[in-house]
Amino acid sequence: MGGKSDAAVVRDALGVGVAVGLSGFAFGVTSAGSGLSVLQSCALSLLVFTGASQFALVGALAAGGNPLTAAAGAFFLGVRNAFYGLRLSQLLALPRVVRPFAAQWVIDETAAVALAQPTRRAVRIGFGVTGLTLYVLWNLTTLVGALGAEAIGDTDAWGLDAAGPAVFLALLAPMLTSAMERAVAGIAVLLGLGLLPVLPAGVPVLVAALAAPVALFVEGRRRGRAHRGDVNDVSGEDR
């Protein structure tokens, strides 16, 4: 039907863009508190522009991780954006020359707003307004947060080292929709904490990521066994 007005789409997009854009402040504070300079913090928000990866990277660097190990953890967190892009590319139907520029805005929030729209026009407005608002605010508040953290000095005394894990928990909570997700999360926590004393900084998180393929493999085998059971039953009936 497409009965949704442009103004309504813009309102939805602004709501998400403003609310999440302001959390760049938490990133700027965490990043500067982790020992990155204001310039480095701002470069991350401008160039990486996907929050979970940014938090993961500064956390891994603060823990003394090797730069490429730290980047690998951040990269794996960013892989989900490829799947948003896949669905968005069909709905947005952008000319190929525009896609490399639109790509930087393909993140959780723009996908959530755009994919919820009823028409192509609404999808494009939702994606564009959310992307622009979020990009501008996220970068401005990163700058303010990083400057603020440098000004107050010891960010741990203000409890700001708890901002990172709280952000991760807030991102994780809505993903725990079924027993499978909860099992993967539980295994990952055990691996991440259990291996922490024995492996170099940053590596335990990468090993913990293996919880995902391992859980899928176990599920696949279980399903395969059940499936073979069904086939046998059917062939039994045929005879």
Partner: protein, 102 residues
């Protein structure tokens, strides 16, 4: 310098996966197993990161004010508080416990 290498590698890697989603033909990534894996990877990574950044001090596991902060964030999440309030709850409670506990 190391920090800039990490920033460069992350920026490049994260941009490449974003562009790939928009440019790659749908069939390549549409296989159910690949989709499931992409959905579960962030769950594993975020869970491990949450636990580590709450309980790690270098290579040692510790129970300190951050755990109280994370518990506050969890309560805020259960109460469906907005994102910034969840983070603020963790920060305020952590700072409070540190101030009281010295």
């Amino acid at each position: 310098m190391n920090t800039w290498i990490a920033i460069g590698a992350t920026a490049l890697g994260c941009y490449v996966v974003k562009v790939a989603g928009l440019l790659v033909p749908a069939g390549v990534l549409e296989r159910p197993l690949v989709r499931r894996l992409a959905a579960l990877l962030p769950v594993a990574l975020l869970a491990a990161l949450t636990a580590q950044q709450t309980f790690a001090d270098g290579h040692a596991l510790v129970l300190d004010a951050r755990a109280a902060g994370l518990a506050a964030a969890a309560v805020a999440l259960v109460l469906r508080a907005p994102f910034l309030l969840v983070v603020a709850a963790a920060v305020v409670v952590t700072a409070g416990v540190r101030a009281v506990g010295g």
